[in-house]
Amino acid sequence: MRILKILILTILLFSFSPFQAFADKSDDTLVIAFSREITNLDYHYGTKTEYLILGDMIDDSLFYVENENLTYAPSLASDFNVVDDVTLDVNLRQGVKFHDGSEMTSDDVVYTYNFIVTNDKNRRHKKLASWLKSIEKTGKYSVRFNLNSPYANLFNDLYRIKIRKNGIMGTDGNWDDNAQATSLNGLGPYKVISFDPGVEVVLERNESYFGGPKGNPAIKNLIIRSIPDMGTQQAELMSGGIHWMYNVKKDVGEAMAKTGKADYQIGPSLRIGFLVLDAGGYSGEGNPITKLDVRRAMNHAINRESIAKNLIGGPAKAIHTACNPVVFGCFQDVMKYDYNPEKAKSLLASAGYPNGFDLDLWSYRDKEAAQAMADDLGKVGININLRHGKLAGLNKARKERQIRAYFGTWGSSASPDTATISNIHWRDPNKGDRNLSGDPKVNELMLGAEQTLDIDERKKLYAEGLKLIAEQAYWVPLWSYSEGVLSSKDINFKQDADGYPRIWNITWN
């Protein structure tokens, strides 16, 4: 029995000793939180905003999006020359070093782009370079891009593709997709010290960073923690465990600010929300959504302004186009549907549904907004069964053509051009599952606008495309989001006009 006593005592002691068991912390260290896990350091293998932010911290590319004017500035490129519609010459900066100390030359650039284009398994970013016919080395610090056809969103893709060291991803026919997954030799203002997938990324300032449009970061050490639970993030912020968190909802932000323990900023974001409707009947021929009046009724039924104002807050507001009004090409003079439940009901009646019908609405985020919309639709007779779950479930259902209507959003992170969002959502339906319109004209117009460099021509094509989308109500455009950020009083973080968090600009107070 004495043994039992000793055992109990040991357990008690063990339990209450603040033993350092699993990790450590130090000075000049900024700690930020991401909700979604980072399981791969290589930006080329991830699509979430988190990966883009991380990519900007540890990688660099030929071009970069300046926050003030939302324009593209040369980054690793020193200057460039548009020779003609399908040819671009780029000169590289000299003396730029990878994290391992070696210098960047045109060999690395050529290698990177060839890798993106020829690697079959790298599906995610292969489309980025689908416009690339070939890339030639024209000098130690210069390259030439030869395009298949004119491509308007060229600079966006040149920004998205991060330059990798020559040979690091393997060779043609023998690519190693995981070469940069858990450790990364990049060109960015921070380098990776350690990486625990799904848990934490530890970064340290790259002391030999070339500066460039991002500038040199003020803070030496940076830790990114994956904290999926927003409540936990708040707690950590309050107790000093983290200094910065984003995607903060209005209620939480305001309440936290009131406690005086953190600063709350809410500004505009490029993200927009929308309902995608199965006009093409992929989920079932002749289903109610295939009828124009039904889709128009849905547009009238939802009180978007109220949701934007009360649930999202900040500068969020209702939109009427399949793009964010502030970006290039987002033509605004399209058919608009006002909030009018009575009109919605009469449209439904004329479509043959005087008593409404049942509908599964899929969603994966903004649960409160989803419920508010379900409620609005219910009031005009469309009886919603909300299928709210994780994105993976929604993607699966969409691939299996089960979805009749879903609530989606698109960030267009740091990309001030309609092309970024339309490229994904209006593609050939035989290739992808996002375009549910069933209307080949939409694909022709919206993607056609990428294939010319003539600004007027692009604007004209987008105008026609957006007008068609609105008139046929292929979508229910909902609202533009706001970006809410909570930051500790110890740091100074200024929000940018596009809502994209440029972490490397943070300084201590």
């Binding site: 927003m230 309050m238 209620d251 939480v252 109220s306 379900a374 409620d375 709210h388």
Partner: protein, 327 residues
């Protein structure tokens, strides 16, 4: 207490002082009147059921009606609360009291439904195993071990992921994961009863297996089954709450308590009542069911030491009379 008054008025024969003339159900009633846990549990449960069924009508507010301008109002006891929304409102401006009251129906429906499914499966397998023994018993034993070793929550999630969440699916999934107690009890009871003389006699005179099962075995295990049933209802209610909490159970806007707690999670700091109130509701419901179940077990257990108190004095002379008359 009030309970006793009710009981005495409804079943006056039960309170006869001559204890030898009491039928089993009267004994049950007498014992239950003295079991504090049973009374408390039953009363609380009845109150909760009443609130669940009639509550929303009484307060006249719908649990589904949203008002985006009145979101996250605090309850009446927190600064800023008002009588219009006694328990405040949730993130979509819906009255919280209405939602919690309505949630009772969800919990009870799923609790009873799932326990029922579990009961059917468990009893069937248990009687089969107990009656036939041999390899049937081995097989059922094997199934039992498999069932116990299964990480239930994970499998429930996977199945719901596969089929899609709905009340029916949730009831079935929980039921299919919770039959073990029924099995154990019905199997051992069946084994015991099967070897009793009167069953062997019934067999000898040609009664079919099914006749024996239904007329002899089932009535005898009924007591224990009822006890287990009540306990399983409590377990099923908590399971549903867990599934809904994780997002793979009842879907919004249906106000399952587990779902309400999940929705309140982000507002942990500033609106803790969103979490506290539904949790209390869950706790009260399950506690009352468990107390009822425990009470039932104590009362129906022939070995328990509950007294049947007789409060009337029996004069010695009467006793003598009774003894004489029974000669």
């Amino acid at each position: 207490m009030i309970f006793e008054l009710f009981a005495k008025r409804l079943f006056p024969q039960a309170f006869n002082n001559d204890l030898s003339e009491l039928e089993p159900k009267h004994i049950f009633l007498r014992k239950s009147v003295n079991h504090l846990g049973f009374k408390f549990g039953l009363t609380m449960l009845l109150i909760i059921i009443f609130l669940g069924i009639f509550g929303p009508h009484i307060i006249g507010i719908s649990p589904y009606e949203q008002d985006l301008t009145k979101r996250l109002l605090p309850p009446i006891w927190v600064e800023g609360g008002n009588w219009e929304h006694i328990f405040g409102t949730d993130g979509n401006g819906r009255d919280y009291l209405a939602r919690i009251l309505y949630g009772t129906r969800i919990s009870l429906t799923i609790g009873f439904g799932a326990a029922f499914v579990g009961m059917i499966i468990g009893i069937s397998l248990g009687i089969l195993a107990g009656y036939f023994g041999g390899w049937v018993d081995q097989l059922v034993n094997y199934l039992l071990t498999c069932q116990l070793a299964l990480p239930g929550l994970l499998l429930a999630m996977t199945v719901v992921f596969l089929i899609g969440p709905s009340i029916t699916v949730v009831i079935l999934v929980i039921g299919v994961l919770h039959w073990t107690l029924f099995l154990v009890v019905s199997r051992s009871a069946t084994q015991r009863i099967r070897n009793l003389d009167y069953v062997l006699a019934a067999n000898a005179i040609g009664a079919s297996k099914y006749q024996i099962i239904f007329s002899d075995i089932i009535p005898n295990i009924l007591n224990q089954i009822i006890v287990i049933f009540t306990l399983e209802v409590g377990i099923a209610i908590l399971s549903e709450a867990s599934l809904s909490f994780l997002g793979v159970g009842i879907q919004p806007p249906t106000p399952s308590w587990g779902l309400l707690i999940a929705e309140g999670r982000e507002a942990l700091f500033f609106q803790p009542w969103l979490i506290i109130l539904p949790g209390i509701a869950l706790f009260l419901l399950v506690v009352s069911i468990n107390m009822l179940g425990d009470g039932l077990r104590d009362i129906t257990d022939p070995n328990s030491k509950i007294e049947i108190k007789s409060k009337v004095e029996v004069p010695i002379s009467n006793l003598k009379q009774n003894i004489n008359s029974k000669k």
